[in-house]
């Protein structure tokens, strides 16, 4: 350390968030008397422009060369203050952030003295660490100006297109044999009434014709390595099983039928199939999961198809996760689903109508339908202790956001196509929040839909009617709007408005090291500061992988994700934090314990150097490959190695500061 530390300490009120519990003025006073501290201030809101200017001024005027800030969680504003000290000409790593809000004032609100005491200790630990701070330079790496987009649904497509339109190259990977994702299964979309498949095909056309987008269909991500700017991706592309020449003929000759999951198993399809007319690619594909391996007759010859999977490797700078959602599948018996043939999900009804476009009357299970009951919040807004647990032992306590409008949109469609239907809508709260969505509520009401409000703790029951009843099923519900009057609704069809579930992408989550939130959807860093980024640098979220959204919202999120990717990679360079191992060559005597402990290829190695005319072995770190885990630190017998910015000496100083009695601190005044 060349210069004597001159530490500036700042305790933020956080607009009262901290100062309501912690006596910030006292903290500041104690800090002012710590050795090496030249200034100790408080501020109502340190992250404001005025607060930041104050710090800059102190650096310039008072020659402060170490800054310690006690404020909110470092995850929120560490970057902010790093920029502040940089503006004042200081190295960004000569600053230390102490979390006084999430880890002090917010968790000890009933214990003001304890919280103040804790703040004093944590701040003095910060000051202790600050004495040991060294200027560090971020590691600059060449960034691959290419992004990977995982998922070929509307969010993935939009994200890929936007990234490519902004000048970067994109690889779009889709696991299934066709692009379009869940949106392709919809008919008309609210609030515009456009055909989903037409909108999609326009988007797909733009994507596949884009010179900077490469599309991998039937491809899985099987490996992820590296770091932001340079992710190594392993892909496995399954064979399509057919060629442009023989595709249609093979499909025609195929005789093996399987349930068509595109239509939620309401229909069957061949094992060589196209999900719908106008799908992309137009070439049929083989469903390898169900193909029984039997030969198929083609031009008189028998052909046995084989999945010739092809691995690919590529390097990308960033990864957009647009893996989408799964529609919630009710448990068997939940509202009679799977037990009574008259109970279907909304998604199933959409497909049912799509495969019978010319139907003059609504038929279900061979019977003309006159009375339809729609049930909202199936698999959403579940209550612990009331609703059955999901497979993972949790309940879906979130709102799925789209089901209300989707249900009311369906009611409008039903009334348009089949006038005279009686529709009963069982809801908790109608959440037609979007622009133009309330219109669907109004329209459903105007067309005579009867709304019944049930309480989440007392969900409706669907039972089979007794022999001789006019209707096959009966729905029992307590109607809050009639003061909990018990109603019995005879029905020909019960439609369950099922919500969204997080997709089963455990392997991918593990490979990308992203986290999931309480709702099991992928978690963003902060809903407002970084709403589409994950905690892993360079891994960005788009669409319903992050949570329930409608098409419009998915597109917006996808475009926002694209903006983040372009900001990150646009310059062709990324900066990494300099928290990597560094060897003090003077202390190193080349035992090699560190190399043994290191799990990262090419991160640390023994090199032979000539020192004072003697050949010696010394450990040398390759920064770009070092993760900064510190496995080498704990095994070094000479304490010759440290993670920069996180040294053992700093921790020891911090522990000493915490261990010190407050009495001493007060005496030290």
């Amino acid at each position: 350390m060349s210069e004597k530390p001159k530490i500036g300490v700042y305790t933020c009120y956080c607009g009262g968030n901290i100062s309501h519990t912690v006596k910030c003025e006292q903290v500041a006073k104690v800090m002012a008397d710590q050795p090496d501290v030249v200034i100790s201030r408080t501020n109502m809101s340190l992250c404001s422009d005025a607060g930041q200017s104050q710090i800059e001024e102190d650096i310039r005027e008072l020659g402060v060369n170490r800054v310690v800030i006690g404020a909110c969680a470092p995850s929120l504003h560490e970057p902010t203050f790093r920029n502040t000290v940089v503006r004042a000409g200081l190295n960004p790593y000569l600053y230390h952030h102490v979390g006084l809000r999430e880890q002090d004032s917010w968790v000890h609100s009933c214990d003001c003295d304890g919280a103040t005491c804790k703040a004093v200790r944590l701040m003095s630990a910060g000051v202790a660490k600050a004495r040991f701070l060294d200027p560090l330079e971020p590691i600059r790496l060449e960034a691959e100006k290419q992004a990977l987009v995982i998922g070929g649904g509307v969010a993935g497509l939009r994200s890929a297109l936007d990234i490519a339109n902004q000048g970067l190259r994109v690889v779009l990977v889709e696991k299934s044999p066709f692009l379009g994702g869940r949106m392709a299964q919809l008919a008309k979309v609210f609030p515009t009434g456009e055909e989903a498949q037409r909108l999609l095909s326009e988007l797909i056309d733009e994507v596949v014709q884009h010179p900077r987008i490469g599309v991998f269909i039937q491809t899985e991500v099987v490996g992820v390595s590296g770091y932001v700017g340079k992710y190594g991706i392993d892909l496995l592309q399954h064979g399509r099983g057919v060629t442009a020449e023989n595709g249609e003929a093979l499909a025609a000759g195929c005789t093996q039928f399987v349930p068509d999951e595109f239509n939620y198993n309401l229909t069957e399809r061949k094992v060589i199939y196209k999900p719908y007319q106008g799908c992309y690619p137009a070439l049929p594909a083989v469903d390898w999961d169900h193909y029984d391996g039997e030969s198929i007759l083609l031009n008189g010859k028998k052909e046995v198809l084989q999945d010739q999977a092809q691995p690919y490797q590529l390097t990308v700078g960033a990864i957009v996760v647009a893996t989408g959602f799964d529609p919630y599948t009710p448990h068997t018996g939940e509202y009679g689903y799977g037990e009574l043939p008259q109970v279907a999900t909304l998604a199933e009804l959409i497909r049912h109508l799509a495969v019978h476009p010319e139907a003059k009357s609504l038929r279900w299970n061979g019977r003309i339908v006159r009375d339809v009951v729609m049930v909202h919040c199936v698999g959403s807004r579940e209550i612990e202790g009331v609703d059955a647990l999901q497979e993972d032992g949790l309940v879906n306590n979130y709102c799925s956001r789209v089901c209300c409008t989707a249900t009311l949109h369906m009611i409008e469609e039903l009334h348009t196509h089949f006038p005279g239907l009686n529709i009963f809508d069982l809801y908790q709260d109608i959440r037609t929040y979007g622009r133009g969505h309330e219109e669907y509520y109004r329209s459903a009401l105007s067309s005579g839909t009867r709304f019944v409000r049930y309480n989440g703790e007392d969900r409706p029951e669907v039972i089979a009617a007794l022999e001789g009843d006019t209707h096959p099923v009966l729905v029992h519900v307590k109607d809050a709007l009639t003061y909990n009057q018990e109603l019995e609704i005879p029905a020909d069809l019960v439609v369950l408005a099922t919500g969204m579930q997080p997709r089963q992408i455990d392997d991918l989550v593990r490979m990308l090291k992203v986290s999931r939130g309480n709702d099991r959807f992928l978690l963003e860093v902060h809903p407002k500061l970084r709403p589409v980024e994950t905690a892993v640098n360079g891994v960005i979220l788009a669409g319903t992988a992050q949570g329930p959204m409608n098409i419009q919202e998915s597109i917006l999120a996808a475009s926002a994700a694209a903006a983040k990717v372009v900001s990150l990679l646009g310059s062709g360079q990324v900066e990494l934090q300099p928290f990597v191992a560094a060897v003090n060559a003077a202390k190193c005597d080349g035992t090699g314990a560190c190399v043994e402990a290191c799990e990262y290829e090419g991160a640390i190695a023994l090199e032979t150097l000539v020192e004072n005319g003697k050949e010696v072995k010394r450990a040398v770190v390759t920064a770009a490959n070092c993760s900064g885990c510190g496995a080498c630190v704990s095994v070094c017998p000479n304490r010759a190695i440290d993670v920069q910015g996180w040294t053992l000496a700093q921790y020891e100083a911090m522990v000493d500061a915490i261990a010190m009695d407050i009495v001493d601190l007060v005496e030290a005044e």
Binding site: P35, G99, Q103, W106, G517, A631, W646, E652, A659, M660
Partner: protein, 151 residues
């Protein structure tokens, strides 16, 4: 200033990984859930960096309990789970040698949203320390003179 002179009976040092326990502690804060204030959370990248001597030294300086909150197998670091476990076992050996109750050092996997497990660990350690008392009962803390005049 008199109110600052209250001495909390015990001190719990929590070394929490940024990718795990530290974020979990932040999540607990965001939920505004109370826990004892004698808890001092320091962020760490990966706990595998601490040699066993570090923990012994901390006890000697007067830290009564140490919680290592890491991400375990979910960690972004390959060695975190196995490496840390190994170090902790070595530390337990050293602690036994010096007559320190090994329950004073605990390793816990805390994820970014593990609010309940976080509270459980903190409260358990707090209760434990109430029962077994400060570390000074077991070893003489070496609160070195030098400390009060740190450089």
């Amino acid at each position: 200033m008199t109110d600052l002179m209250q001495k909390p009976e015990t001190k719990i040092l929590i070394l929490a990984t940024l990718a795990g326990g530290y974020a979990g502690a932040d999540a607990t804060g965001q939920s505004h859930l109370d826990y004892p204030s004698n808890t001092y959370i320091l962020p760490v990248m990966c706990p595998v960096m601490f040699p066993p001597e570090f923990f012994i030294r901390s006890f000697e300086r007067g830290i009564d309990g140490i919680l290592l909150m890491y991400s375990g197998t979910d960690s972004p670091y390959k060695v975190e789970a196995a490496g840390t476990a190994k170090l902790i076992n070595q530390s337990y050996e050293l602690m036994k040698e010096r007559g320190i109750d090994i329950r004073r050092l605990r390793l816990a996997a805390i994820c970014t949203v593990c609010v309940k497990p976080f509270l459980k660990e903190v409260n358990n350690m707090h209760t434990l320390l109430k029962g077994i008392g400060p570390v000074s009962a077991e070893i003489k803390p070496q609160q070195a003179e030098a400390q009060r005049t740190l450089p």
